[in-house]
Symmetry: C2
Subunit: 213 residues, 2 copies
DNA sequence: ATTGTTTGACTGAATGTTCAGTCTAGAAAC
DNA sequence: GTTTCTAGACTGAACATTCAGTCAAACAAT
């Protein structure tokens, strides 16, 4: 499905992305099940009919928006991680990704999205697929990071698989707290507790540096 | 068929509870936002109008159902915990409560409910109140359990508050995994990993016993 | 006892709204 | 002049809630 070349080429893709972004805004604001096509259209400066034109159904729009958000979040994180030299530093970035807020997005946005992602995954196969893929990728990232750190002699020889499972569970759990608790303190505390856990388990020194980004 | 025989006043309460239970069934099956009054009425053997008669609005019904479920779950757990002699054993029960399935309910039911509880809490003040109260109570339970264990000399002198925060986050995180992962293996693994973490942190010996209930 | 009265549980049939998705047709790009 | 894009008006179904009562039990007065 290649688009036409020339000036208008990016136009359609641009519109699509605009709508996905609009959909994400609305999902965060109203929740996945209460996101109406009209809302998305309005926010994207288009008509409801146009939204349906681009995404056959409402569900396709929302599912794709979820995938879009997760992919973007993951890709941005990976890029940052790749720029870090030590395994310990990389792990810290992994933890920061879930515990510390990004600059551009409003603090609790991505976590609110997660809550919806989970709740929807339980019953919606399309969304569930997004979650599974994301979860697996995420755990794999942690695991290989740990393995690399062990080879480099930075980390103690714990079972990397077990560690990945437990760390990702811990991060998910904190994500709930952060998403639902209004207190800003929670993020810093979650970050510190998690880093203490990780450094203790993997046996590297960690002196609590950053508190924000 | 007979209405209010003897303590006719109990009839109404009975009916109410019947409806709450029906609501929970439907919520688990269809998700909170897609739970229709008709569904609940049907399952409770009543008319939609009667459901509204008991609970002024749909939202009140669903919120109350959530509270009902959480209270029941917590109360049953507390009772079991109270019957255990050692702090280590009690802690094991706490972990089992979230990681190992109950007998009567279908495995993932209560966790599915949690996912909905979280997602709804983000936007619905009534549900949010249910969650807050539940969360606080839960963390307090862990904390005082740890303190008691420390006084009894069973546990190492870690910060009980920090431990409660991190353990409840870990359990929440595993709850997500268990609720969404279909594999039955997950529960046993989550239980074991969590118990290893707890016994390591609190410095008590744990020999992985139970795998089910 | 019989009759009328009250009350609480309950229902079927509206009511009105909200939406996803469709249809038709115009504008723009090629 | 055909394809791609866009919007306004519409349709049809789904649903929460309301309404106007029914029905039977308890109760009170005769």
């Amino acid at each position: 499905m290649k688009e036409q070349t020339g000036g208008g080429e990016g136009m359609a893709d641009q519109r699509r992305e605009q709508m996905l972004q609009a959909a994400l805004d609305v999902i965060v604001e109203r929740g996945y099940p209460d996101t109406r096509i009209t809302d998305v259209a309005e926010r994207a400066g288009a008509s409801p009919a146009l939204v349906i034109y681009y995404f056959k159904t409402r569900d396709q729009l929302l599912t794709e928006a979820m995938r879009y958000a997760e992919d973007a979040w993951y890709a941005a994180g990976l890029r940052r991680i790749a720029a870090i030299g030590t395994a310990a530093g990389q792990l810290e970035e992994v933890v920061a990704m879930t515990c510390l807020p990004e600059e551009d997005t409003s603090p609790s946005d991505s976590w609110l999205l997660w809550l919806d992602l989970w709740a929807q995954s339980a019953r919606n196969p399309g969304v569930s697929a997004v979650w599974s893929k994301f979860e697996e990728r995420w755990r794999e990232t942690i695991k290989s990071l740990v393995l690399a750190g062990q080879e480099a002699g930075e980390f103690a020889p714990v079972d990397a698989g077990d560690f990945a499972v437990i760390l990702s569970a811990l991060l998910d759990g904190f994500a709930v707290q952060i998403a639902l608790e209004e207190s800003e303190v929670a993020t810093a505390r979650a970050f510190e507790l998690t880093m203490r856990f990780a450094s203790d388990r993997l046996g590297f020194a960690w002196n609590g540096r950053r508190t924000g980004r």
